[in-house]
């Protein structure tokens, strides 16, 4: 149990792609304040996306002032931590001033640099070392882009900080680099939790281009006078190390022990399983599963993703649901028996991430008959998402030598998505716990702040002390589970492979329009 006062207040700041949010919680996780502002983003060219660093800082300060203003006694604030989106950060000069743009995480401008990086660091080897395949969004590629395209700015650059570490630094922390975001650079060796010298060299980078590597929940400094004046935080409050937003969200959901699973359902979906050690089998690199360092110190995670999850539902609403309310369409789908009369949906509307990353994959409805009606097609969309998620659970369980996943913490679940979660529960034959944790990422940051401030002894203590309400959704009856098992094992699991060559032929004839971002 914690030795600290129960009236301590912890702040979490979540700098995301679409919103910047701050929450204040007490040590039990009760929300005391919430503030949010929309994030600005510019698209200077096709495929490019940038934030203005100073605008991001200003927004962060506003949101913090707003949240702190909602708290009766702000002097009780003992800690803050900042979480942020994936492969995004700021290059800084000796005086801590930005030298280049804040390139958004999904920006794909780095084609040439990726080619060069690949030439020196083979994709499979990179994947085995860092847990992720070569892709244009990696931080290393973005830094190489700056080297190539603005050598003057690069020559002035002393250091790169991820957005979360940079905001923390401005608040008063030392320059630091958390390990979950280090896992997204293309330079970080998972097994040792250290920078990989050869990969650094391949990207013409040095260790001291980054802040000092720190585990999640480490105290990386205290709020300075400047930071206090800008935000209203008390001078001297602990600044904790947080990190990559979806990992921090899984932390808030309590997914830190080996085999703990968290399913974060949004426009895209992340299916994360916490691990004690990275999966070493290089065959994992042939799958769409990526790995990274957890924000829980010393721990790891494996992640499968469904790129078009909520996006598939929104598409189906437009394309086949005549734009009727999703709640109506889901209610009607609820009256259709499991299996949707044999209609199946493959949700690769933009690309496939499971069972392999495949930018040329395409979606499909199969098994249509004259008797197929809207409700069955809509249910098939939900079932397709559940089957796709099951691929992630199965791959991770197999490679991590876990027994099957038996419990899943659901983030982003709403009452509206209960049917989706119920189908997922039957398809995975796993109990699903829908967490009432709307601000999971910001709350996770606040919990990491609590570790830094000594409110929690460690990550397990933080997860134990924070009480999150949840609704349990059980798998359906045995015949429903059996129906889904047959559909999954005899059809769905083989569909991607069967359709893959056709998708590729089709995509060569009709290139998929890149809509730019998630």
């Amino acid at each position: 149990m914690s030795t600290h006062t129960p009236d301590a207040i912890l702040l979490g700041l979540d700098v995301g792609t679409t919103n910047v949010k701050a929450v204040a919680i007490d040590p039990s996780g009760n929300q005391l304040a919430l503030a949010s502002r929309p994030q600005a983003i510019a698209y200077p060219r096709p495929g490019w996306a940038e934030h203005d660093p100073e605008a991001v800082w200003t927004l962060a300060c506003e949101v913090l002032r707003d949240a702190i203003g909602q708290i009766a006694n702000s002097s009780r604030i003992v800690g803050i931590a900042v979480t942020s989106m994936g492969e995004a950060g700021v290059t800084l000069d000796r005086d801590g001033q930005p030298t280049g743009p804040l390139i958004a995480w999904f920006d794909r401008r780095t084609g040439q640099q990726v080619a060069r990086f690949s030439a020196q660091a083979d994709d499979r080897r990179l994947h085995a070392i860092t847990g992720s395949p070569m892709q244009p969004i990696l931080t290393a590629a973005k830094l190489m882009w700056l080297q190539d395209n603005d050598p003057v700015a690069w020559n002035r650059t002393e250091r790169f900080l991820n957005v979360s570490a940079w905001i923390a630094h401005r608040l008063g922390a030392d320059p630091a680099q958390d390990m979950s975001l280090a896992s997204r650079t293309g330079l970080f060796e998972l097994s040792t939790r250290r920078w990989h010298p050869e990969l650094l060299a391949a990207a013409n980078l040095r260790e001291n281009h980054f802040g000092s590597l720190s585990e999640g929940g480490t105290r990386i400094g205290s709020v300075s006078r400047f930071g206090s004046e800008a935000t209203g935080l008390p001078i001297g409050a602990a600044i904790g190390m947080a990190g990559h937003d979806h990992v921090v969200g899984a932390f808030a959901a309590g997914a830190i022990g080996r085999g703990d699973a968290a399913d974060s359902i949004g426009t895209a979906e992340g299916l994360l399983v916490a691990l004690d050690a990275p999966i070493a089998d290089p065959a994992i690199c042939e799958t769409g599963i990526t790995q990274g360092a957890h924000v829980a110190p010393g721990r790891y995670y494996a992640l499968g993703a469904v790129y078009s999850a909520g996006a598939s539902i929104a598409w189906a609403q437009r394309a086949i649901g005549s734009n009727r309310p999703v709640s109506d369409l889901i209610a009607e789908a609820g009256h259709i028996p499991a299996g949707s009369y044999g209609v199946m949906f493959v949700p690769h509307l933009q690309l496939a991430m499971l069972p392999h990353l495949d930018l040329e994959a395409r979606g499909a409805f199969i098994g249509l008959s004259t008797d197929t009606k809207t409700a069955a097609t809509f249910r098939a969309v939900l079932e397709g998402l559940a089957f796709e998620g099951r691929i992630a659970w199965d791959l991770i369980a197999r490679f991590a030598e876990l027994d099957r996943i038996t419990d899943v913490r659901v983030l982003g679940g709403t009452a509206q998505s209960d049917l989706l979660v119920a189908i997922k529960a039957s398809v995975a034959n796993a109990q699903h716990h829908v967490l009432q944790l709307e601000q999971a990422t910001a709350v996770g940051a606040a919990m990491l702040a609590g570790m830094a401030a000594g409110v929690y002894r460690d990550a397990d203590d933080a997860v134990t002390q924070v009480h999150t309400q949840s609704r349990v959704i059980e798998p359906g009856p045995a015949d429903e589970i059996a129906t889904y098992e047959t559909m999954y094992s005899t059809v769905y699991r083989n569909l991607y492979g069967a359709l893959r060559p056709l998708s590729h032929s089709l995509t060569r004839l009709f290139p998929i329009e890149s809509s730019g971002h998630a």
Binding site: S322, Y341, A364, F365, G367, S369, T370, M487, L509, S515
Partner: protein, 503 residues
């Protein structure tokens, strides 16, 4: 001189008065119900056919007085059983009745699918008279035992009009009881189903006079006394005949709820695998006309658009509205492919378990893409049937298309681009009744029916496909073709394994 064509269809009878030049002078339609006394049944009351026919002819008003002869067209395959007094023993069992499914399986097993195809030029199907009789024998022995005569629907109607029992090859073939090579009843088939040769009416030429209109009916209908009634034919071959394809080495593509490929042939060319029909035609090989026709049929064409509208989109918009909206989608539907096997497929797959699919979905696809993809998918399927017909009978000199769907530019563009040749739209409407009228004219004047058909036929300018669209659709078609194979590998047993049957 004018001619009366009577088309006894599935849901209504149409009466058409046609001039010597092939002009439609008057038409009238009267409908009748299909009864479903039990699951799988499709029955009609023959007496209702006669009443509707009388009313339809009465509806022709003053045009009745100049009629010289009557020709008949009829819904094919069906069964009317008559007893010793030519009394109707049982309601007519029409082509859409599926109660004979088990009997069909038994016949295929006992006789052999290949032997059947070799004998009758076609696989058997439920609703064919041969299958219906085999079913009746077990299911309704009291009917079976009383049978003295079995007729097709239009042959029963002609019996009422003239008092004469007759049959002819083009409708007779559709019973599954005529031999494709002789264009006459098959002793083998009749033996296989344990029926009696004496039940079947003698076969005459389709344009032969089959008696004259009985005075009582002439009076009731308001027609001249004792005008000749010619034998007539099945509605499908008569529709094809009326478009004028018999004399121009053309193949006909008909777009309706499903689609058909029809071509006339001078020899009985049979697909041994039974992926299409080869039947006797309503023409006379004795005078050099093609005595057979080949027909491949796909299950789904226009009906898939109704499915999308009613079952999926649940919109009240009209089909022409949907098609107009799809005009903004380029050929190829931005890479969305539709497999149209919503109800299984006939020619050439013969796979009742096939299912439909939308493949190639991206987030940018809308319902407009689905509309266009459905049209393109239906035409891909039709092209497969066309390829089979041409593989069996040789390349056709010309492609004629028929069907109301062709008013839509989306259908026009898709058919021409996917067939990959200019296609010529037929302007003949009410084709089956027109075919019946021209048989009447042929019978009375002695001019071959195919010659009259050529004289009466009218066409729009050919639709010439865009070269790039041809290439694009050819590329897509290779993916389409593989998609069915992949789909079949992954899907076939699922429905039966899981009992995934729609309510």
């Amino acid at each position: 001189m004018t001619w009366l064509g009577l088309d006894l269809g599935t849901s209504s009878v149409k009466a058409l008065v046609v001039s010597d030049e092939g002009m439609v002078l008057a038409s009238a339609t009267e409908s009748y119900p299909t009864l479903q006394p039990e699951a799988g049944a499709s029955e009609q009351d023959p007496a209702a056919w006669l009443r509707a026919t009388i009313r339809a002819v009465q509806g022709l008003d003053e045009h009745r007085s100049s009629i010289q002869a009557i020709g008949l067209s009829g819904q094919m395959h069906g069964t009317v059983c008559l007893g010793v007094d030519r009394n109707v023993l049982h309601p007519a069992i029409i082509w859409s009745d599926v109660r004979g499914a088990a009997a069909l399986e038994r016949l295929n097993t006992a006789i052999g699918h290949e032997a059947i195809v070799d004998e009758i030029g076609s696989p058997l199907a439920t609703g064919f008279q041969a299958v219906t009789l085999a079913w009746l024998r077990d299911a309704k022995p009291e009917v079976w035992n009383a049978i003295r005569t079995v007729l097709l629907p239009k042959d029963w109607l002609r019996l009422q009009l003239t008092g004469e029992l007759q049959s002819e090859p083009s409708d007779g073939a559709s019973t599954g009881l005529q031999a494709v090579r002789t264009r006459d009843w098959s002793p083998k088939m009749i033996g296989w189903i344990e029926a009696d040769d004496s039940w079947f009416a003698p076969v005459h030429a389709s344009n032969a006079s089959a008696g004259s209109l009985l005075p009582t009916l002439a009076a009731e209908m308001g027609l001249p006394d004792a005008i000749p009634v010619v034998a007539g034919g099945g509605d499908a071959p008569l529709a094809a005949l009326a478009t004028g394809i018999a004399s121009r080495d053309a193949v006909l593509l008909t777009l309706s709820s499903g689609a058909q490929v029809t071509r006339f042939a001078t020899t009985p060319l049979v697909d041994a695998a039974g992926r299409m029909h080869t039947f006797g035609s309503p023409l006379n090989p004795e005078v050099g006309e093609p005595g057979w026709y080949l027909m491949g049929a796909t299950m789904v064409a226009g009906s898939a658009l109704h499915w999308l509208r009613d079952a999926v989109l649940e919109t009240s918009r009209s089909i022409p509205d949907l098609l107009a909206a799809a005009e903004s989608v380029p050929a190829g539907s931005d890479g969305l492919i539709f497999l149209p096997y919503l109800a299984g497929e006939r020619t050439p797959l013969m796979d009742p378990l096939a299912r439909g699919a939308f493949f190639g979905l991206t987030a940018d696809h809308t319902w407009r893409h689905m509309v266009r993809a459905i049209v393109e998918g239906a035409v891909f399927a039709l092209r497969d049937a066309l390829d089979l017909v041409e593989a069996v009978s040789g390349p056709a000199g010309d492609v004629v298309v028929a069907g109301g769907a062709l008013r839509s530019p989306v259908w026009q563009q898709s058919v021409s681009a996917i067939v990959g040749r200019p296609v010529t739209p037929s302007r003949v409407v009410d084709q089956s009744a027109m075919g019946a009228a021209l048989l009447a004219a042929s019978g009375l004047t002695g001019v071959p029916a195919s010659t009259i058909a050529t004289a009466w036929a009218a066409f729009d300018d050919p639709i010439v496909p865009d070269a790039r669209a041809i290439d694009r659709m050819a590329e897509l078609r290779t993916i389409y073709a593989t998609l069915y194979d992949r789909h079949r590998e992954q899907f076939p047993t699922l429905a039966s394994t899981l009992g995934l049957v729609t309510d």
